[in-house]
């Protein structure tokens, strides 16, 4: 059963309170972020229904939005999602090599998840870090000026965190 915790509901109410009476649909994008973060890093059909119910809108309105924006994952992803930028400025600074290196290292192609469910590799379009290329998004933050060594360190860091949280 998909259900926000009390704390998450407080955050939900804070998000909705930013908009005028009757315009609660405006909170849809932030609420979907909250739901994705709260329910395992992706939005299941059940989660989308739940959000529609909370915001008192039709499920199709949530579906239309969830499928439009690239940050919403509609399928399960690994615990750590590597989103490597591949647009022009990152490409000329070697983003292809970073993607290839992650592929060599973890054995996953863009769109795939490692068997242990830890890592998902995804190529994305420009994230606005062109001066600090090549780069990727990992969770809330950017990892910039990537090198093979940095990628090694990031993977190591993720594995340690995963082990510590188990």
């Amino acid at each position: 059963m998909v259900q926000f915790s009390q704390e998450q509901l407080t955050e939900f109410n804070r998000l909705v309170s930013r908009y005028p009476e009757g315009k609660q649909k405006s909170a849809l994008l932030p609420v979907l972020h909250l739901a994705q973060q709260s329910f395992g890093g992706w939005l299941s059909p059940e989660t989308l229904d739940y959000v529609a119910g909370l915001l008192k809108i039709k499920p199709i309105e949530v579906y239309e939005v969830a499928t439009f924006y690239s940050m919403y994952n509609l399928k399960p992803v690994g615990k750590y999602l590597f989103e490597v930028c591949q647009t022009g400025p990152c490409m000329i600074n070697g983003s292809d090599n970073i993607v290839a290196y992650i592929h060599d290292k973890l054995g996953i192609k863009p769109g795939e998840t490692t068997a242990d469910g830890l890592f998902t590799l995804k190529t994305v379009e420009c994230l606005g870090a062109c001066g600090y290329a090549p780069m990727m998004q990992l969770g809330k933050h950017y990892r910039e000026h990537l090198t093979k060594e940095k990628v090694d360190a990031i993977i190591e860091e993720c594995r340690k965190n995963a082990a510590a949280n188990n």
Binding site: K58, I60, E61, Y63
Partner: protein, 365 residues
């Protein structure tokens, strides 16, 4: 009648007066014929429709009497209102024709061109458009886009590959049925219309999405592969329906009702929305009071079955050739020149009853 001032607008060198607030497209429709730009997404009865397909782009060569500057870009005539003294070029503008050819090519690159197995063939607006603006061969060398199949229930067949994303069905479902279960998912070149998951559309009026669809993306499942529209004779008919007006067009062959649709005007727009019962369930001639043959004055292949009615056109005094800078009026290919469908010597609109196979039998002498 109304207090609204009249604006003078000149489209392809033909001047008319229309109430302020009229769009260029609707002003052009008052002139009629080729001067009216094609519209694949605009639908006068659906609020918010239009602006998307870009087939109705026109050139505004003079903004208005007050501000005569031309508009810098081509504009969507369905969403641009006329100004007093505005001058518009549609078929007299090379820029417009070039852009429209481009739009048609864009609409076709991912279209399956499966007209031979498409129930919309013969009354398809995209076919008409391709006939007028299309190229003889494609320049697109890649695999066409495909979609996961969705089942929309027992009445409506969805072929997403044929969809041009006009959004008419979305507006129809939203505005007519008051029930929002139908929408557009995903974005860009893989956007698709879909229902909420696989839920079938069960509203009493949902069948109208078939009639508003300009292509064969949404067709009548109860008519699927049953016949070609140009073999059928459209008859206006009505019944006492508790849900809708009951005013329909029957598509008959002999006594058999193959299909029921709403009645459509010369722009292909529904006159009265009809309910699912009338559309899908009443397939016996006995269900209906037949009024007489439906006049079809569209330039598609079905009109070639000699159903042509009168086109209420605002005729200029001069010949079209004179006002359109020497451009000759479009001559339609007469289907009878290449096919003996329905036998050319039989003018079906003269029959005040559904055509029967006996009408087509060669004379036995």
């Amino acid at each position: 009648m109304s207090e609204q001032p009249l604006f003078k607008v000149t489209i392809d060198n033909i001047t008319i007066e229309v109430p302020a607030g009229t769009t260029i497209l609707n002003a052009a429709r008052k002139i009629g014929g080729e001067v009216a730009p094609p519209a694949m997404c605009y639908y006068s009865k659906l609020e918010g429709s239009g602006g998307k397909c870009r087939t109705c782009l026109v050139e505004v060569s003079k903004g208005s009497e007050k501000d005569p500057r031309p508009m810098p870009k081509l504009v969507a005539s369905c969403r641009t209102t006329v100004m007093d003294g505005m001058e518009v070029k549609n078929i007299t503008s090379e820029k417009v024709i070039d852009a429209r050819n481009g739009v048609v090519e864009f609409l076709l690159i991912n279209h399956p061109l499966d007209c031979p197995v498409c129930d919309q063939a013969g009354e398809c607006h995209l076919q008409d458009l391709s006939y007028n603006h299309g190229k003889e061969s494609t320049r697109f060398e890649f695999q066409k886009r495909t979609f996961k199949k969705h089942d929309l229930g027992p009445y409506i067949q969805l072929h997403m590959t044929r969809c041009i994303l006009c959004y008419r069905c979305v507006f129809t479902a939203d505005q007519l049925t008051g029930k929002r279960e139908h929408g557009v998912l995903d974005r860009g070149d893989h956007a698709e219309i879909a229902t909420f998951i696989e839920k079938s559309l069960d509203n009493e009026f949902i069948g109208n999405v078939i009639d508003v669809c300009p292509v064969g993306a949404l067709t009548d499942k109860t008519f699927r592969f049953k016949n070609r529209v140009w073999f059928l004779k459209p008859m206006d008919a009505h019944r006492d329906c508790p849900t809708c007006s009951g005013k329909v067009t029957l598509w008959n062959r002999g006594d058999e009702v193959y299909r029921v649709t709403a009645r459509k005007d010369q722009w292909g727009e529904v006159e009265d929305w009809i309910c699912n019962t009338c559309r899908f369930e009443k397939k016996n001639t006995g269900d209906w009071v037949i009024e007489g043959p439906r006049l079809i004055d569209r330039h598609s292949v079905i009109a070639q079955g000699h159903y042509a009615g009168s086109i209420g056109m605002h005729q200029p005094k001069e010949t079209f050739e004179a006002v359109h800078n020497g451009r000759k009026p479009k001559l339609l290919m007469d289907i009878h020149s290449v096919s003996n469908v329905n036998r050319p010597e039989i003018t079906l609109s003269k029959l005040d009853r559904p055509a029967h196979s006996t009408d087509f039998k060669p004379n036995q002498d």
